[in-house]
Symmetry: C2
């Protein structure tokens, strides 16, 4: 195994650097994931070049992205949608449409290619429920109506974001601008999502009795991994992204996740693989692209991402008062791993340029950093008097 | 991610084939791992060529081997050694020495290179405690003295096997046959093992309070992974195998494993990675090497592996009667993943030829298949009358 030297070296040091930066960020009450990305930027190939990931690491990062989205799906409990269903759906819909339109419009105005504009816009859509849930949980206001609307909307948001990504990739890979073709492709993506949403959980329910008769140990986890990898592969086969399949695979198992104890075990796999993904994320970011023009654009894109989400998500609940609208709007602002993965998919497909990729990472960072302090401010009135801030928990 | 097609394809199909064969083997009451290896032989590059793993898969298989040995270490509870300590130690020592001598002698007589002979002999040493524990547990005779001696000896056996592997690799990589150098290298390997055995758990104990103050979520798992990867890398750096470091890392955390709930989470990572390891194991086995001469050799090596273990482990307990000696001897016969990994390390270092690699896999298969029925026969007298065979549990 001495030939394995460089690989083991990278494996060890990437994990250590990512976790070291993650720990520092946690202590500063910042999202750990931003720390892991920063580690890739600073010690990776465009930084100090202490660790330069090779293909094998990028392969592991790719599996990391698949398991990340699988876990996101697994945590998307359909029952969360029922409590404040309709309101959350409207919030999610407007909160997906407005950022997409703003992002697409700005990128097109900036004379970026249409395909790239669509991709960046798709990356601006996905809300990270983890950030909001953490802040709300720490403040003990998870039971309030705005909080429940946020959590429900974030779930719809994930599903809508995945459908949107499917449509964008489908349209781009057909490289046709005819409306008929565009409509067919969009319907395909939506069809895949609908089948996954309604049919896949039923398949899981059907195989459930068989699972318990299987001889293989940990059969539920094994079958979940098989379906996760299988749907990822299927998604790529029909011209979408692997993560879309992984997300819907997680969703299909969400109902049985507590019973089969899937989440902690998927999380353990994640815990090992995800740092390689976030590190590679940063390692692919060439800091040299940040000239003055790009910095201005990055600030504009971040502002657009912030306000379009705030307004898009706030409007549908404005009838409940501007305070509720503000709370829901701000709570939906943080973007997360889904947006990052969308940008990476674009980069790998050579549709997103390194500078547009940098825009997305910058936008994700700023929205994630800005929203939590604002949320603390506006949710303060709802917090119980004997508030004990239980800090020091993981963010994403 | 469309460029990822072949990788995702391999990822999905290798996992599915490995688990499919594993399930069939389980249903036939055979070790699942042999099924996973067979999958690699039959559908891999030397078989039907349905899936041909590329470098990225072999990298994942390598991480699989590291986590496999980490889990073996994690399950090696030092307290298991205390109950029947001295007897188990003697059983393990003689059970390591005799197979090594027999294996080395035969391979040398067969005019294989000395280095290769040493490697094959080292692969003949390691007992798989999983097989024996499963059979004994199913028969409800785990409480008997022979059973406790077997389990204790298997633990010593793992440690001794790792030290032996370290010495063999150390000696080979120095490529010197001078006795002085050989002694120094052996002492280095033993020194590494001693430091790991006695110092590493103390380090873990020392960092324990700090761990609970860390901000990173799942800090114990993260630190365990860091130390596992770090010691694997360190072991390679000083000229040993990565798995030796991983094994001792597991051993260092064994004491705290229940408290930090490490085992189920390491197992979940294993559950995903190990099939790639066992499949690759089979995929590297060129069935064409099995000519008549090699088949004869394979049968001789298997017989040597069987009887040398039986006699080596039986002799130290002969004073307790030949029945006890037989029980302990047969219980120590099955070889397992450790021997397989040793063979693979040799193959990767170009020290073990494809035909010697085939010998080791054949030997592992036969000892694993032959021992359980024999154990059932000779342990029958100890089984409680109302024996209910709880079959259908995972073997290794």
């Amino acid at each position: 195994m001495q030939t394995a030297d460089p690989f083991l070296f990278q494996l060890f040091f990437i994990f250590v650097w990512a976790k070291l930066f993650g720990e520092v960020f946690e202590r500063l009450h910042l999202p750990a994931v931003l720390g892991e990305i920063l580690a890739g930027m600073l010690v990776g190939p465009y930084g100090a070049r202490l660790v330069v990931p090779d293909e094998a690491i990028y392969s592991i990062a790719q599996i990391g992205a698949i398991f990340l989205l699988f876990t996101v799906g697994l945590e998307t409990q359909p029952k969360d949608l029922l409590s404040v269903g309709r309101t959350s759906l409207y919030v999610a819909l407007a909160g997906v449409a407005l950022p997409f339109i703003c992002g697409f419009g700005y990128m097109a105005l900036r004379h970026n290619p249409i395909h790239e504009a669509a991709f960046v816009a798709a990356a601006m859509v996905a809300t990270s429920v983890g950030i909001a849930a953490r802040v709300l949980g720490d403040m003990r206001v998870l039971h309030t109506r705005p909080a429940r609307i946020i959590l429900g909307a974030a779930v719809f948001d994930d599903v809508l974001g995945m459908i949107l990504l499917g449509v964008v990739i489908g349209v781009i890979s057909n490289s046709s601008t005819q409306w008929v073709q565009l409509t067919i492709t969009s319907l395909e993506a939506i069809g895949f999502a609908v089948v996954m949403l309604f049919y896949a959980p039923r398949v899981v329910r059907r195989i459930e009795p068989g699972l318990e008769r299987m001889s293989t140990q940990n059969a539920p986890l094994i079958i979940a991994i098989v379906i996760c990898l299988g749907l990822s592969y299927a998604a790529v086969k029909i011209g979408m992204a692997a993560i879309i399949g992984a997300f819907f695979a997680g969703l299909a198992f969400a109902e049985y996740s507590p019973r089969w104890n899937l989440r902690p075990r998927a999380m353990a796999i994640n815990e090992f693989l995800a740092p390689f993904f976030f590190f590679s994320m940063g390692a692919r970011l060439n800091l040299a692209v940040f000239d003055r023009r790009l910095i201005v654009s990055a600030i504009i894109v971040s502002a657009l991402a912030f306000f379009s989400k705030l307004i898009g998500c706030g409007l549908p609940v404005l009838h409940s008062g501007w305070k509720t609208a503000l709370k829901v709007g701000v709570g939906m602002v943080p973007r997360g791993e889904v947006g990052l993965i969308v940008a990476l998919v674009g980069l790998q497909m050579n549709i997103v340029s390194p500078s547009a990729y940098a825009l997305v990472i910058f936008m994700t960072g700023t929205t994630t950093l800005v929203a939590p302090p604002l949320m603390k401010l506006i949710f303060r009135e709802d917090a119980p008097p004997e508030e004990e801030f239980i800090e020091r928990r993981r963010v994403w």
